[in-house]
């Protein structure tokens, strides 16, 4: 399988199964329309007839010979032989957990997937006993996995910060006893940050995700306080302080764009101008009837914006400055292995979420959906059948993914979004797929430009 596209003034050819990226000329781009998979040894007569008005036949044959030699080298039209890995690797240990430490929030963001913080289940905080059980569960189910991830999530985790501290302390004790390495992350709206919380977070958290949508006007339209006022001025100085004191440790400012700010490049640049250089801004996932929801009709505008963002990022880097946009990050040589790419986030299999009352769900987005409750820390139940269903939800069991060129980059998309917006974890949520594919094309093109100078 191949995918060809034009981006940043280049013609790019991706060989899906080998991961090969080739920069091609216009002739090759046109000729590929007539090349079968696998290709025949000789240039098809149909291609010569169709294209000889535009290109000399000798050039077409020369180009075809190049394509054929790449095929023989197995970096073009290479075979898809990964399904065997998908079918065999099913019984994974659990290595990552999202703790809904606070099923409550002090903001009332319009687009919140978590029902403005309470997941439709009432406002509650997790107690330390439940947190302890969660740590024990993770250690017990992690088998030989050493690196264990724990994300403090909400609602707003800082509303229950004492319990966060207690859980971290407990996990640090336990990791020594069981030869594990806990990596904590916290996702926060920042409004309750104080100097001592910043100090603790920067010491203990491997990564911090700071929620902000970009420009003050954009942020405050969606991310509101309980009294309806905007939140920007409340958290922004605190975010700056946290990042300034964080040194080289990882963080992201992470926001959501909606129909109201399809010019989201401006939001990314606004965050950059405020001093943040690790940025993730994502499309809102919402009921299409919501006024802020993105729809298929918005896609041309969104695609145009990603191209604009791509140009801006190039401009910043050309001036010797650093900026990282999460969704344009791609390592074309040393990225995750093909096996990792078959199943994506691993939710319900390697990754679970725990609600404040100790219920286990496949991930934070499934919390509150009763049919996806996997068990409880309180009675020791854990639905291994459901775990197996998620383990089997790989790119070969998702019909749309199976035939998609992007399957080894998005790995089947978000199972929760597939379920909520497309009716089944195996169905592709097309809007999300289309956006993901455009981001990938931009990401590959950005990388390709950089690598082009050193190419053979």
């Amino acid at each position: 399988m191949i995918h060809k596209f034009k981006q940043n003034g280049m013609y790019i050819l991706l060989d899906v199964n080998s991961g090969g990226v080739h920069i091609i000329d216009e002739l090759t781009y046109d000729l590929l329309d007539y090349v079968s998979d696998p290709p025949a040894e000789e240039c098809p007569q149909a291609a010569i007839e169709a294209l000889s008005g535009k290109y000399p036949a000798a050039d077409l044959r020369e180009c075809y010979a190049e394509l054929y030699s790449l095929y023989k080298d197995k970096i073009l039209f290479s075979e898809d032989d990964y399904e065997k890995y998908a079918l065999s690797a099913v019984a994974s240990p659990v290595k990552a957990m999202c703790l809904l430490i606070a099923q409550d929030c002090n903001l009332r963001c319009e687009y919140c997937f978590a029902g403005k913080g309470d997941y439709g289940k009432g406002r509650t905080l997790m107690d330390f006993e439940t947190g302890k059980k969660a740590i024990d569960f993770l250690i017990q189910k992690s088998a030989n996995r050493r690196n264990l991830e724990l994300d403090f999530f909400g609602g707003e985790p800082l509303m229950n910060f004492n319990v966060v501290k207690q859980i971290v302390e407990y996990a640090r004790e336990q990791e020594k006893l069981h030869d594990k390495n806990f990596r904590f992350t916290i996702t926060t709206n920042g409004t309750l940050l104080s100097d001592d919380k910043i100090e603790f977070i920067n010491k203990e958290m491997y990564n911090v995700v700071l929620s902000v949508d970009g420009r003050k006007c954009v942020n405050d339209r969606m991310r509101k306080r309980v009294d309806g006022k905007g939140s920007y001025d409340l958290f922004m100085p605190k975010f700056k302080k946290l990042v300034e004191k964080r040194g080289d440790k990882e963080y992201y400012v992470r926001g959501t764009y909606t129909k109201y700010n399809m010019d989201f490049t401006e939001d990314i640049l606004s965050l950059y101008d405020e001093g943040f250089d690790q940025i993730s801004i994502e499309p809102v996932m919402a009921d299409p009837n919501e006024p802020y929801a993105l729809t298929a009709a918005d896609l041309p505008r969104i695609f145009e914006e990603y191209e604009k963002l791509s140009d801006k990022i190039k401009e910043i880097r050309a001036n010797g400055k650093f900026i990282n946009f999460f969704h344009f990050m791609l390592d074309l040589d040393q990225g995750p292995c093909a096996i990792k790419r078959l199943r994506g986030c691993g939710c319900g299999n390697e990754y679970v979420a725990i609600s404040p009352d100790g219920d286990i769900y496949p991930c934070h987005q499934f919390v509150g959906i009763d049919e996806y409750k996997m068990g409880s820390l309180n009675d020791g139940t854990f639905d291994t059948e459901m775990k197996m269903d998620f383990a089997r939800a790989h790119v070969y069991s998702k019909p749309e993914c199976r035939k998609c060129w992007a399957k080894f980059y998005c790995s089947g998309g978000c199972n929760a979004n597939n379920y909520i917006y497309a009716g089944d974890i195996h169905n592709a949520y097309k809007l999300s797929c289309d956006i993901e594919k455009k981001r990938l094309e931009c990401a590959i093109a950005l990388k390709a430009e950089k690598l082009l100078d050193t190419a053979e």
Partner: protein, 47 residues
């Protein structure tokens, strides 16, 4: 080659043969939480 420049190692197949150790981060934990981009994760096999 005159018409085509290959710019990377195209080593996805080799990665499968030695892959699957599971040491890497769960992708959704890093910075997305609502969508999935796995290809931007780091391989941690030798970490």
């Amino acid at each position: 080659m005159k018409h085509i420049k290959t710019i990377n190692k195209a080593n996805l197949k080799q990665s499968a043969e030695k892959g699957g150790c599971g040491k890497c981060q769960a992708s959704c934990q890093s910075a997305c939480k609502t969508s999935c981009t796995v290809a931007n994760q780091k391989c941690e096999r030798d970490a």
